[in-house]
C-alpha cells in the first residue's frame, strides 16, 4: 500500500489530496499521513502548495456544495492529522457521487468525516446561543469563549448580520484568536497578551436582571438538573453570565 506524507497543515492536506487524485489511479488504496520527522519514516512527502489547495476547494464547492461545507466544518475540528486518509477517500468519493456522498454512511471514510464535521457543526450552533457579550466602558461588547472546535470564523459571520449596528469582539481564549466587528468591517487576528477591559457602569445591573430571570423562569416542581446538563454541558458554564451567580 502506497504511503504519502504532508506537513500537517490544512493547506498541506488539501494540496496533497489534490496531487494524489491527479497522479494515483486508485486513491482508495493510498494512505496519507502527517509527517512526524522520525528517522526511518516511510512514505513520499508532498509539498504544500496553497494555490493548489485553494483550487481544489473551489472545485469541491462547485461539484458538491453541501459536501464542501462538510469538509469546511471537518477542518474547523482541527483533527485532520488523525483522519487524513479518510479525507482523501472522502474527496475521491465526492467526485464520483457529488452531494449524495454524505448519505454513504456505511463507508468508513464517509462516517469518519461526517461525524467529526457534525460535532463541529453542533458546537457552532450551540455557541450561537451560549455566547455571552459584556458591555465595555467604551460601549463595545466583548464575548469570551473556549470552544473545542475552531469556530470563530463562522460564529463571527453569524453575529455580523445579527448585531451589525453594534461594535463587538469575540475572543477564543485557548487559541488566542480574536474577531473584531467595527463600522461594517470584520477582522481576525491573534492576541499575544490579553487584558480584560473595564466594564460599562450598567453592565452588572443588566447581568443581575438576567440572573434573576434565569432563576425564576424555571418551574420548581419540575427541577431536572440532569436534563439541564445534557443540553448545556458544564464545560460551557465558565463564561455563562447566568451561571456566575451560583
Amino acid at each position: 500500500m502506497k504511503r504519502y506524507l504532508y506537513d500537517g497543515t490544512a493547506d498541506g492536506l488539501l494540496s496533497a489530496i489534490s496531487w494524489i487524485l491527479q497522479e494515483e489511479p486508485e486513491p482508495e488504496k493510498v494512505v496519507l499521513a502527517e509527517r512526524e520527522q522520525t528517522l526511518f519514516e516511510e512514505g513520499f512527502f508532498i509539498n504544500t502548495n496553497a494555490l493548489q489547495a485553494e483550487s481544489l476547494f473551489s472545485r469541491l464547492r462547485h461539484r458538491a456544495p453541501d459536501a464542501a461545507y462538510t469538509i469546511y466544518m471537518f477542518m474547523l475540528a482541527e483533527q485532520h492529522g488523525m483522519e487524513s486518509s479518510s479525507l482523501l477517500h472522502y474527496v475521491s468519493l465526492l467526485f464520483t457521487y457529488g452531494d449524495k456522498v454524505n448519505g454513504y454512511l456505511t463507508h468508513p471514510a464517509v462516517r469518519d468525516i461526517v461525524s467529526v464535521a457534525k460535532k463541529a457543526g453542533r458546537e457552532l450552533h450551540r455557541m450561537k446561543g451560549l455566547l455571552r457579550f459584556e458591555k465595555l466602558q467604551d460601549g463595545a461588547y466583548l464575548a469570551k469563549m473556549e470552544p473545542d472546535n475552531n469556530i470563530i470564523q463562522p460564529l463571527a459571520n453569524h453575529f455580523r448580520t445579527r448585531l451589525r449596528a453594534q461594535h463587538w469582539f469575540l475572543y477564543d481564549v485557548k487559541r488566542r484568536v480574536a474577531a473584531r466587528w467595527s463600522n461594517g468591517v470584520l477582522q481576525f487576528g491573534t492576541i499575544e497578551q490579553f487584558t480584560t477591559p473595564a466594564l460599562s457602569e450598567d453592565e452588572k445591573k443588566v447581568q443581575a436582571l438576567w440572573q434573576t430571570f434565569f432563576k425564576t423562569i424555571a418551574i420548581p416542581d419540575r427541577k431536572n438538573s440532569r436534563l439541564q446538563k445534557s443540553n448545556m454541558p458544564m464545560k460551557y458554564w465558565k463564561y455563562l453570565t447566568e451561571k456566575q451567580a451560583e
Partner: protein, 420 residues
Amino acid sequence: MDILAKLQILSGAARYDASCASSGSKREASSCGVGNTSQSGICHSWSDDGRCISLLKILLSNDCRYDCAYCVNRSSNLVPRASFTAREVVDLTLDFYRRNYIEGLFLSSAVMQSPDVTMERMVRVVEALRTEEQFGGYIHLKIIPGCSSELVRKAGLYADRISVNIELPSQVSLQRLAPQKSKAAILEPMKLIGQEINTSLIERSTSRRAPRFAPAGQSTQMIIGASPENDFQILRLSQGLYKKMHLKRVYYSAYVPVSEDNRLPALAAPPLLREHRLYQADWLLRFYGFTAEEILSDDLPNLDETFDPKTAWALRHPEFFPVEINRADYATLLRVPGIGVTSAKRIIAARRFSAITPEGMKKIGVVMKRAKYFITSSGRRFEKHDQTPAIISQQLLLGEARVVEPPRQLVFPGLYSCQP
C-alpha cells in the same frame, strides 16, 4: 417598584407557558437596527428544570380580572402584582438581545381592565420594538381572547408567531374552571389568524413586498391533568387544530398544582409522563403520518405508560411487520419503533450505495434497541427466533438476557420494582 422586582414577579408568572420556540421565521436584519431570526431557532440557555430558554418570556402584567382555577395569576390568589411599562419591556429586550442572552421576546399578559385594553398595550410594546428600535429578533405574542379583530391583525403584522391558548380540552371544563372564558371566544381569533396567514402567503407569492403575517405561524397550549378529558379526546382535538386551523404547534403543559381549589384534582406531582407521551403522540400526528384514531380508540382512550405510542401501536399490529429495510418506502420505515425521521432518511440515502446489513444499520447510527424486533435486512431477521407481540414486549421491558435466564440472585421485593 424597581425593575428587578417586577422582572421577578412577571417572569415567575409567565413560566407556566410552555412555548419557547424561536424557529420557523426568516427575518433579515436591518442596516441600523438590531437582530434577525434564524430559521432553525436557537436556544440560549437551559433553566434548572431543563427546559430551553430562547425568549425573554414575561407577562406585561399579572394583575388579572379573571379567576381561572388552574392559574397562578387568578384574581383571588394572594400574590404580589406588577405591571411593566412599554419602555421597560423594550429596554429589557434590547439589553438582553445585545448581550446574546435571548433570541427575542415572548410577551403575554393577564387580563387587565378588558381584553381590548390589555391587547392594545401589548401591541404597543411590539410596535415600539419593530418601528422605533428596528428590532429584527423573534417576537411571540399572546392573543387575549375577546379582543378586537383589528388588534389581532396588528399583532400578526409585528410578531413572528402569535398564539391563543385553548387552556382546557373541552367547553365543559372551561366553563367549570375558567368561567370567564369561552370556547367560541378562543376559536374565533384562531380562525381569523389562520385566514390572515393564508392570505399573506398568497399575496407574498405574487409580491415579495406584501406584508408578512405571523411568518412562524400560530400555536396554542392546553393544560393536562387539571380536567377529566382522556388522551383520545385531547389527541383528536390537536388533530383537528392541525388539520383545520393549520396550527404549527400544540403545546401540552402538565398541570402544576398552583392553588387549592376543590374543583381541581389533588396531584402529588405534575403528570410529566403523561405530558411526555402526549408530545410523542403529537409528533406521530405531525411527522409520522399517523391519525389520532390509529393511536387511540374509544376502547383504548389513554396512552400506554410503559411503551411509547409508536411501540404500543406496533405491538397491536403484528401483521404490519417485519418491515424490510432495503425496500420499504419512507412512510413504512417511519412506522418502525425506534426509527425516526433522521434514521429513515439515513436508511434511504445509504441503501442507494449498497444493501444495508445489520452491522450497516449500526454504522449509519440507527438505534437498534427497539427496531431490531420489527425489521428484516434482505429477508433476514435481526432476532433469531420468531417473535410474538407478547415475547417482544417482554424483551423490550426486561432486556433479552433476563428472559432467557431466570434470576439466580436473591431478589429483594421492592428494591428493583419491575412492573409488567
